[in-house]
């Protein structure tokens, strides 16, 4: 698990899989998850294998999660917001899911 180098001056509260987390305001969802869990944050659509945030710059799409009910959001491109609800992305989204 990643450790933060600095204490945050301001924090917000988000939910990950129903668990409340206090995380530094202004950081990305991917950073918050890396500091929270070692476990996979999504499973791949075809092979079903586990993935976690990787490139942290919007390219690899390995950090996909569900945010506030919307599937396939890039966690590394999304800044945490107070009250945000984050869930693991299991496999593919459906075509009818919210965008």
């Amino acid at each position: 698990m990643f450790k933060r180098l600095h204490e945050a001056a301001e924090t917000v509260t988000v939910e990950f899989e129903g668990e409340r987390l206090r995380v530094p305001a202004g950081e990305t969802v991917a950073a918050a998850l890396l500091a929270t869990t070692d476990a996979a944050t999504r499973t791949t659509p075809v092979g079903g294998s586990g993935r976690a945030p990787y490139c942290m710059m919007g390219v690899c799409f390995d950090c996909l999660v569900e945010i506030d009910g919307v599937p396939n959001r890039q966690a590394c491109m999304t800044v945490v917001r107070d009250g945000m609800r984050i869930r693991r992305q299991h496999g593919v989204r459906g075509l009818g899911d919210p965008a």
Partner: protein, 379 residues
């Protein structure tokens, strides 16, 4: 002793490392010949990195029955070609042949398509043409649960159509070529081709290369290289755009001419044609038009985010049909050009070798020469 000269002497030098060159080279190297592929660097147009990935039959060959036949032969060879690549290289090029659809918006498009395909059937003089016009209900039966937009009146369907992953295809062909002893030479841009003894000497950016026979399969590069060896191939660039969505559950069981869903779940959206010279920059307006049509055809696609887009330049002849030609002034030098590098990969790998090595022409090739473009020039 093996010298650099020896290493760069081949029975056949194939100029071009995209979709056409490696397919041709595969057939040659399989026959036990010494074959080199001369390629440029990563800083050139690289059309073969921009393909949509259709292995497509319907609608091709208007005005040229030979191209209909050649395309059908390739589509028929594809399953075996893909299986062999997978077995020999471990690369699954993702080929499937579930049939293909072109979906049509409004009665005008339907009538236009019907007329166009009818002409292709008629020019065949009674030969079977496995494409049929189907109505909206029949389209819905082929795409259960997809949900068509209200303007979709029907489409054209062919059981011959299929698709594959063009990047895996490129990788697999290169891997198989090298596995069979073929020599791949990147950064060997060919500056000139000169007769030398019974063969040819090619001046490249990386020293001279010698070959008994030379195949020009360099896409747009053929335009520049050909005239000096009697092969004036009038190809032009035509820009096409592709959009790629995020991955989604499998929803499209078969490819359409404008959309296909990959094995990994992304939906690719395409079909645009622009005359823009060698400018392969993405135009936002064109992306918008493609996306707007996609949502008219299948409204739920609007829910998907676009994650990538690009433009690439088709290698287009004036009649959109391929060129397979041997030079009259430089025997043993051939030009092959087509915008259907993916579709024709199987037939290029299997049925062009005897033509290049023994002069045995497939029956279709009488129509694929350069004479058809040069009526005025030769008068």
């Amino acid at each position: 002793m093996a010298t650099a000269l020896h290493l760069k002497s081949f029975d056949v030098a194939v100029i071009g490392g995209g979709m056409v060159g490696p397919a041709i080279a595969l057939g040659l190297v399989r026959r036990g010949l010494r074959v080199g592929i001369l390629d440029e660097g990563d800083d050139v147009l690289r059309v073969a990195r921009g393909n949509f990935g259709l292995v497509w039959f319907q609608g091709k060959g208007s005005g040229m029955p030979a191209y209909v036949s050649w395309t059908r032969r390739s589509a028929d060879l594809w399953p075996d070609f893909a299986a062999e690549l997978k077995q020999n290289t471990g690369v699954d090029v993702g080929h499937s042949r579930p049939g293909g659809l072109e979906l049509l918006l409004g009665e005008y498009e339907f009538a236009h398509r019907q007329h166009y395909l009818g002409q292709i059937f008629q020019q065949g003089g009674g030969a079977p043409y496995e494409v049929e016009m189907i109505d909206r209900k029949e389209v819905e039966a082929l795409l259960p649960g997809v949900g068509l937009g209200p303007d979709v009146v029907g489409g054209s369907f062919s059981p011959i159509d299929g698709h594959a992953n063009p990047l895996y295809l490129l990788r697999a062909m290169h891997a198989e070529f090298q596995r069979l002893g073929g020599v791949y030479l990147p950064n060997h841009r060919v500056a000139s081709i000169a007769a030398r003894g019974d063969g040819y000497a090619l001046a490249t950016g990386n020293g001279a290369v010698y070959a008994d026979k030379v195949v020009l399969a360099a896409g747009h590069g053929v335009r520049e290289l050909g005239p000096a060896v009697g092969l004036d191939v009038p190809i032009r660039p035509q820009r096409g755009h592709i959009l790629v969505t995020e991955r989604t559950a499998p929803i499209l069981p078969l490819p359409m001419s404008a959309f296909r869903q990959t094995a990994e779940g992304t939906v690719m959206l395409g079909v645009s044609a622009e005359e823009a010279g060698y400018d392969d920059r993405v135009q936002t307006g064109t992306l918008h038009d493609i996306a707007a049509r996609a949502r008219r055809v299948i409204p739920a696609l609007a829910n998907l985010r676009i994650v990538r887009s690009w433009a690439a330049l088709r290698v287009l002849t004036p009649d959109k049909c391929p060129v397979y030609a041997e030079s009259e002034t430089h025997p043993g030098v051939f030009a092959i050009a087509s915008h259907s590098g993916v579709t024709l990969a199987a037939v290029n790998a299997r049925l062009t070798t005897d033509w290049i090595m023994d002069g045995v022409e497939p029956p279709e090739f009488a129509a694929f020469g350069l004479g058809r473009f040069n009526v005025q020039a030769t008068a």
